[in-house]
Symmetry: C2
Subunit: 301 residues, 2 copies
């Protein structure tokens, strides 16, 4: 665990990084009051005020651990958040998870109607790729590499859409440990891993270091999903900002559902240890990446 | 008008180019029978057998007019078709245009359900950008430029999603000529113009030539939309492959609706003439671009 000085440094970093991400997102998004009004309002409704900005923070922390300047990281960090936000809008739709509440407010389709929500999600995905393609802080070679990483982590067969599709298919039957792990590796793990990899890539890591970062990201993604599932069982709607107990009611494949609460908590501790070991093998200043890891473990405790 | 020899050359080009596009699309898409099964089947259902492949053909014809080799064009041509296909899937959804029939077959959500259709559209958009990012026939500088062009033409405020959003907003009221033109410039014109521009860009045009190509694309896009609207009034479902008369019933803003049939046909002839003038100012072999133009005019006659 980190010392209180290290933890205080991390909290300062996180608050300042979140603010920087929000400034950049505000510039990237179509202006408030511009036409077409409804879809632009819907995009902003879903991006702001936003949650913890976990993925952009992770990307910034990883990139800065590899010595990349903030200017070269911020657009890609926002692109990852835009992909994440588009996926939340589409996942919440009536035909998908049919959720009314997100981050303590009505979901996008409740607020703006389904058609506008579908279009807002579509436009946020487009904007994510456009943001990296247009980022003049990065050379074109790096941009196409990042675009490839992000696309692979977002689409199918090895990204988020594949995970969501697999998850929907699995609602109708019982899944085993292996299938559960596969669903979540794609559905949430791929984008979290991509955030760490993209940050590192901007910092020009050695191949060996990039593999260690990938392992950290994969274990962190697993930890994130387990603790997310645990929170869905234990937290209140107020604390969660979305409808709790939803997973069980919709027969989602979850870690507590497949393993039970106790074994799920043990799995979380094990993923934390694996991610920590990957970090410790990096000859880099990893305090912030360690702090992120500890924070995600603690929230599910 | 073209001579019969020129027309025969064009027909041969079109048939052969369509076949090449289909081979490439088949390689780009996740394999039939791979997991997640439903979303991969849905992606293929909507991409194949496909329609006229108008946009990829246009991109190939423009690129080859600027001397670009086929190998350097084909992936970008497919990317444009993937964007077009994703937009059809999402536009057909019950919350949007609620269409049951497309290219003579059930629409994606009728065949696979709404959730899978939403995800298939999402994944096709991702695949479009991934395809260009990964295209090693192009240098990274060209790839990021093409990605920027395609993203701008697909998203908002200056692309397809903006046009679709504007169109939905306009269903509740009467639109004037200016607004109609703006809706269609965004909704269909932007992607058609992007197809011509991307093809030209791969052929390294002069700035002046790229402007002429852009004008050709914009007028062709206008012509395309007017004749599409005319067909919706005059054609049968069998010929159209989708539900005819739909525009009027859903109070869509159309050229026949705003101008009447006769004036709409005159507008089509005028757009054709403007596009032709742009082509004639190019010191290039433009027979195929001319043939495309004539074909689009004829279908609405």
């Amino acid at each position: 665990m980190l010392s209180s000085v290290e933890l205080s440094d991390f909290k300062q970093f996180a608050a300042e990084a979140r603010a920087a991400v929000d400034v950049e997102l505000n510039q990237l998004l179509p202006g408030e009051g511009t036409r077409p009004l409804a879809v632009h309002s819907a995009m902003r409704w879903s991006v702001f005020p936003g949650g913890k900005r976990f993925r952009p923070l992770l990307l910034l922390a990883t990139g800065e651990c590899f010595g990349a300047p903030r200017d070269s990281l911020i657009a890609t960090a926002c692109a990852v958040e835009l992909i994440h936000t588009y996926s939340l809008i589409h996942d919440d739709l009536p035909a998908m998870d049919n959720d009314d509440l997100r981050r303590g407010r009505p979901t996008c389709h409740i607020q703006f109607g389904e058609a506008t929500a579908i279009l807002a999600g579509d436009a946020l995905q487009t904007l994510a790729f456009q943001t990296i393609a247009d980022d003049e802080h990065l050379d074109p070679q790096t941009r196409v590499r990042l675009l490839g990483e992000l696309a692979q982590a977002s689409g199918t067969p090895s990204g988020m859409v594949a995970g969501q599709a697999h998850d929907l298919e699995a609602e109708e039957r019982t899944v085993d440990e292996e299938e559960l792990e596969q669903i979540h590796r794609l559905k949430t793990g791929a984008l979290i891993t991509a955030a760490t990899r993209c940050g590192a890539i901007i910092g020009s890591p050695s191949k060996a270091d990039l593999m260690k970062v990938t392992e950290y990201g994969a274990q962190l993604g697993l930890l994130f999903q387990i603790t997310d599932d645990l929170l869905d069982v234990t937290a209140t709607a107020e604390k969660l900002g979305k409808t709790p107990g939803k997973d069980a009611r919709s027969h989602k494949a979850t870690y507590p559902g497949v393993y039970g609460m106790k074994a799920a908590r043990e799995l979380a501790v094990s993923a934390h240890a694996s991610a920590r070991a990957a970090l410790e093998s990096l000859d880099r200043p990893v305090d912030r990446l360690q702090a992120i890891l500890d924070y995600i473990l603690d929230r599910g405790a």
